[in-house]
């Protein structure tokens, strides 16, 4: 995609050969690593304001995210909803459908899942599957409502999807506080689900695999720790990534929505029924959000729905940032999601170690996205003849079908 002559040169400069090497060195010279670096430096400035040593801080962040078994486990736990929510946003933004209502779709999905898990009798696996389907349906319908309101009477989807977050959020809070409230509990939460309807952990303590891992690898081995901290939601999200990737590349819908994101006028001219395409996109996007909501609600070790638990973690909005960072590509969403998940996990650890606000994560993440939008580059050795590479980058950073002069 980038100008080939200069990329060859850069590939050789980095001492790498072959297409992969070129792409890696190109990426390293691009805006993403530079933005991350600058954001971390600014983050260090914030740590100094809080009276902490940035080196200690980042060390603690590293240990709490990637440098220990527990850290890895937390990172994966945080990455699962982030990747899911980022996929939700990515399928929409890629189609030029600016869905800012992921949060509302997610919490309604979570609520639907909780209602099913609490009330439906029957074998655990079946209840779990029905809960997931109910969550997908709730999220998809709430998302499609915005699409419908854009088709008629014609309110921009960006605004309706955003505004619909609030009734969804307050409705869920109301449901937990009144109809679903566990009268026996002092906290504002539903009753606990039966353990067998939860999405199980991969290798919990006491299970055959869990004990085998603990005996053969030791109880502190990263695999053992991950096995008892991470649930089957991980597998669900991996399947989801593959599914979205397949839809994008191999289906008519994927092609149409991708073209619509690049140029709505062109897609309309070539016969795409934009309203129907938008509706299907919102069904897909909202459905993914709903499924993530269910996974956050009934995924072990979560055993009940607590008021505010889906909102306070801010997965929906952080997921939006992940999608922007990943340029809406499923594979990129995984990398960016794990990266942001690591920042969240590490910031939590750093907050505990240095008694600092874990909100440093939002600061660093926000700055990364702002800088990437700015297209910050490392200083160039030589000027390029033309701007093709930059034009390509900025075009990719645009989520909408609004034309932009690069």
């Amino acid at each position: 995609m980038m100008s080939s002559s200069s990329s060859t040169r850069e590939g050789k400069l980095a001492g790498l050969t072959g297409a992969t090497g070129r792409r890696v060195s190109q990426w390293l010279a691009g805006p993403v690593p530079t933005s991350v670096l600058i954001a971390l430096v600014i983050g260090a400035g914030f740590m100094l304001v809080a009276g902490a040593n940035p080196i200690t801080g980042y060390h603690s962040m590293l240990v709490g995210s990637l440098g220990s078994g527990q850290g890895l486990s937390t990172t994966i736990q945080r990455s699962i909803p982030l990747v899911g929510m980022a996929l939700c946003v990515a399928v929409a933004f890629r189609a030029g459908v600016l869905n800012l209502g992921a949060e509302g779709q997610m919490v309604l999905g979570g609520l639907a899942g909780a209602v099913v898990a609490l009330n439906l009798p029957g074998p655990g696996l079946l209840v779990c599957a029905v809960a997931c389907l109910a969550g997908i349906a709730a999220g998809a319908l709430w998302g499609a409502l915005s699409a419908a309101l854009q088709a008629w009477p014609g309110v921009p989807l960006l605004i309706t999807s955003l505004l619909l977050n609030y009734p969804a959020r307050y409705f869920v809070s109301w449901m937990i506080r009144f109809p679903l409230k566990d009268p026996a509990s002092s906290s504002v939460a539903t009753e606990s689900y039966r353990p067998e309807v939860q999405i199980p952990l991969l290798a919990p303590k006491g299970s055959a695999i869990g004990d085998w891992l603990a005996q053969n690898l030791g109880s502190d081995n990263p695999l053992t720790v991950i096995g008892k901290g991470v649930g089957w939601s991980l597998v669900v999200v991996i399947v989801l990534v593959a599914l979205v990737s397949f839809i994008n590349r191999r289906t008519v819908f994927g092609l149409e929505s991708g073209i619509n994101g690049l140029n709505e006028g062109f897609s309309r001219y070539s016969g795409v029924r934009v309203n129907w395409m938008t509706t299907r996109t919102m069904l897909l996007s909202g459905g993914i959000a709903g499924l993530v909501g269910v996974m956050l609600t009934i995924g072990a070790p979560t055993s009940r729905l607590i008021d505010g638990s889906l909102i306070d973690t801010n997965y929906a909005w952080t997921g939006l940032l992940v999608a922007l960072l990943a340029l809406y590509r499923p594979a990129g969403v995984v990398v960016a999601g794990v990266f942001f998940g690591a920042i969240v996990a590490g910031s939590g650890q750093m907050g505990r170690d240095l008694s600092m606000s874990p909100q440093i994560a939002a600061v660093v993440q926000g700055i990364v996205i702002v800088l990437i939008a700015f297209q910050v580059h490392p200083p160039r050795r030589r000027r390029r003849a033309g701007p093709p590479a930059e034009a390509d980058n900025s075009a990719a950073a645009v989520p909408t079908n609004q034309a932009e002069g690069a």
Binding site: F46, V49, A50, G51, L98, L100, L149, Q150, A151, P153, G154, V155, P156, L158, I159, T160, L162, L163, L164, Y166, P167, R169, Y170, F171, S173, W174, R177, F178, R268, V274, N275, N314, W317, L320, L321, L324, M356, S357, Q359, I360, A361, A362, V363, Q365, G366, I367, I369, V370, A373, F374, Q375, S394, A397, V398, P399, T400, Q402, E404, G405, A406
Partner: protein, 304 residues
């Protein structure tokens, strides 16, 4: 229910509408200059924090207001530099700035004041209310309109002022020209970039004032995420008002009434979740009714 609609209700409507009005006027200027500003929520929150920090450290509400204006307008430089100079997508910047603002303020409230959630301290000086002698005695609207903080009066006066500047001065005409036909404006020697920088910075100043009114006028404290969607309401208000100043006041009034009436209904036993959701639902319904005409206006953004 007797005594439900009383003078105190009118007063709380006005109190609720002023911060939204400031932010909405900022959104209006940006829209007119052709910059889609959805970072108001973040600008507003930064303004709140600046106001409380300035007031706490100096003991002066005026310094608090100045600090709020400075903080929010410096923060708004991210949007103007990004969207004007770097040609970045304003929606991306807006979303990132809103999250950044929550992060920065929540981090700093802990780092500087060593509290989490809410920062309340007797050292924070609030804004005084100035009663206008005579007028304040008018029943119903007197206490509501003529016993405001200095920012309250300023906000209400800014509506006609914005209208006059926008439609009766060369400055306003150039600003509108930059938004509607940037190339034509440039041909006539008007630099779109400088007008867009000006408009975004003005929205920063206005959001700073909104934040000061919210954090030093309506209450005297800083709470995490205390802007609570008002920046988004401002975006919608301007959309509803089709970028007209007086109509923006009307839209802000709609929001203020819903919030105030909802707050009153809480006292009557209605669940807080329902009254909290009401302003957004009412705004949405108003948008649906207004949609017919702005389908034509925003043909590009919606269905042709």
């Amino acid at each position: 229910m007797s005594g439900f609609f009383d003078a105190a209700l009118v007063e709380s409507i006005v109190r609720a509408l002023i911060p939204v009005l400031f932010a909405a006027l900022g959104a209006l200027l940006c829209d007119r200059a052709g910059v889609f500003n959805i970072a108001l929520e973040g600008q507003l929150l930064i303004g709140c924090f600046g106001a409380v920090a300035g007031s706490y450290f100096t003991g002066s509400a005026v310094v608090g207001v100045i600090a709020a204006v400075l903080a929010a307008s410096v923060f708004s430089l991210i949007l103007s530099y990004g969207s004007v100079t770097r040609k970045a997508e304003p929606i991306v910047l807006g979303v990132a700035m809103n999250i950044l603002a929550v992060g920065i303020t929540s981090f700093l409230i802990d780092a500087v004041f060593h509290v989490r959630g809410v920062f309340q301290d007797p050292a924070i000086a609030g804004l005084h209310h100035f009663a206008i002698p005579g007028l304040v005695r008018i029943p119903w609207i007197g206490p509501a309109l003529f016993n405001l903080t200095i920012l309250g009066y300023l906000g209400l006066l800014l509506v006609p002022a914005t209208s006059i500047v926008l439609f009766r001065t060369p400055l306003g005409m150039r600003l509108r020209g930059v938004g509607e036909r940037p190339l034509a404006a440039e041909t006539l020697g008007v630099s779109p970039a400088s007008y867009q920088y000006g408009a975004v910075t003005a929205s920063g100043v206005l959001c700073g004032l909104a934040g000061a009114q919210l954090a030093l006028g309506n209450v005297v404290q800083f709470a995490e995420n205390m802007s609570a969607g008002r920046g988004w309401i401002a975006v919608v208000a301007v959309m509803l008002a089709k970028d007209k100043p007086y109509a923006t006041l009307g839209a802000a009034l709609l929001f203020g009434s819903t919030e105030a009436i909802g707050f009153r209904l809480q006292g009557e036993g209605l669940a807080v979740q329902i009254t909290d959701a009401a302003p957004y639902v009412v705004t949405l319904i108003a948008l649906l009714f207004a949609a017919r005409s702005f389908r034509r206006q925003r043909a590009a953004a919606t269905v042709a």
